[in-house]
Subunit: 327 residues, 2 copies
Amino acid sequence: MDLYEVIIQELERTPGATIFIHKSPDGDALGSALTLAMALEARGKEAEIYCWDAVPYFYRFLPGWEKVKRVRQENKVFFYPLVVGLDSSDLGRLPFLEGRPPGKVVNIDHHPTNTRWGDLNLVEPGAAATGEIIFRLLEKWGLEITPEMATCLYTAIFTDTGGFRFSNTTEASLLYCHRLVKLGASPYEVATHVYESYSPGRMRLLGLALNTLSMAAEGGVAWIVVTREMMEATGTGPEDTEEFVNFPKSIRGVEVALLFRETESGVKVSFRSKGKVNVALIAASLGGGGHKAAAGCDMELPLEDAIKRVVPLVEETLACCTSSTFS
Amino acid sequence: MDLYEVIIQELERTPGATIFIHKSPDGDALGSALTLAMALEARGKEAEIYCWDAVPYFYRFLPGWEKVKRVRQENKVFFYPLVVGLDSSDLGRLPFLEGRPPGKVVNIDHHPTNTRWGDLNLVEPGAAATGEIIFRLLEKWGLEITPEMATCLYTAIFTDTGGFRFSNTTEASLLYCHRLVKLGASPYEVATHVYESYSPGRMRLLGLALNTLSMAAEGGVAWIVVTREMMEATGTGPEDTEEFVNFPKSIRGVEVALLFRETESGVKVSFRSKGKVNVALIAASLGGGGHKAAAGCDMELPLEDAIKRVVPLVEETLACCTSSTFS
């Protein structure tokens, strides 16, 4: 019996499941969780979804989004005998509140760095999104994929591939999305909600941030800055800077792009790499973490000092690895 | 015999074809033309591709792009007995130089406004891109789709759907792209070339343009401005403002977005609509044209006067059509 079948058996056996998704929930975590909850309900079971943070406003079109409960607000969690954690590489990303949850724990994820923290670990690094694994699970379960589920799963795959623009996009991702559109997902509706629901303040903040564009290493490194003053002037918050780092990254010749954002206590640095530099290592050396191509760290330093510390480090690393590309 | 078969017969019969694509060539025009030329060459035939303008730098990764000749530079055109115009709704978009070309003229396009200007008109408004029609043509022709062709056709569909974000994206578009990736196209490579090859000047210009963000009609209309001074300060040209109008469009609540760009003789206005307003009508009333959702016009007015003329017109139109949505 393969792992899918084992998990389906557990799902069939339990009266209900408590589903957890990671902090700062994204389209993949939300889309996967909402679909799994709908599947359980279709089988006459209960399902609860918990997250540490609120659902971002641009995901509030997903069918059932209002069912996602905030651990911070609830201050308690109702545990069914089966607990499923989705799209979460380690327990630190999950809001269990008090260590390991009771009951059987299923870990479904696509991050290669997943620490196999569950009793059952369905981890498939080849999947572009956890949503692809949920799609396969529903198929093997023999459940009908409703238009609502299709919208959720399409959003999961569409957003985790950056709209089919990141290097994790495979021909399977496109085939899944083709099938999900056939099942009722609307590419335009999803794209409009996710990428065309910005606030005017965010656009103004982007303008101010782009005015700070700086480059080093003969154009190999580019960065922009978001200060607290800019956020105040535009009435924006940290969530409005999401994807800003992709703008310096979109310049030709840039290998590493950085976003420096002032926080209450210092600076949050976001790193993006086009392939030559493993930015996870740089971020880790500064107390942060992430993936080879996308990482971040927090620094308790004034903005100028953080830039002076990070940029030379990136320049040095780039100088060492101009000949090879990680896969 | 269906139209595809008739055209294949013509392609098989001729010793070569002269292929024309529209001014300001985009990914669909280029990808379709390069693929058709490769197909003809695979059948032992000659093929020439002509365009009025140069290939934009971010499309210079397409296999064979350097074969695209500029009519403006050549100042003459070599006509084979068969002439194929691609992705061009009317003859005004094509650089034939002196009226109708000699020989049989084939018109392959997906624009619903196509004027059927050819002897044979393969016009399919249901296709998201002309590239989809070329894909079907190759299949019916029984030709092998090489990895180079797959890259060209993937780029055609990917760019004409705005990276699967526009309302023309269908489940068929996703299925074609899935198949093209199987045949050798790389989604990441295409996306990186098309959307991550910008100049630093373009990013600076975007910052300056976003600083001009203005709104009217209670947030239903948003516009940004690009002056000649901004372009001089950032060392950029008109081609660097492509897609800028999508930034005001990406604000929630905005129904019509505008870009006002200063030209030598006045202002070029770009219009985008999310669905309620038919901007082609507004642009046409100002001497321009386009589609319901994307249109433009040139105005021989100072920038401030152009804004004062256009914005109230858009506001009025929006006020009249807040209840219905065009399909």
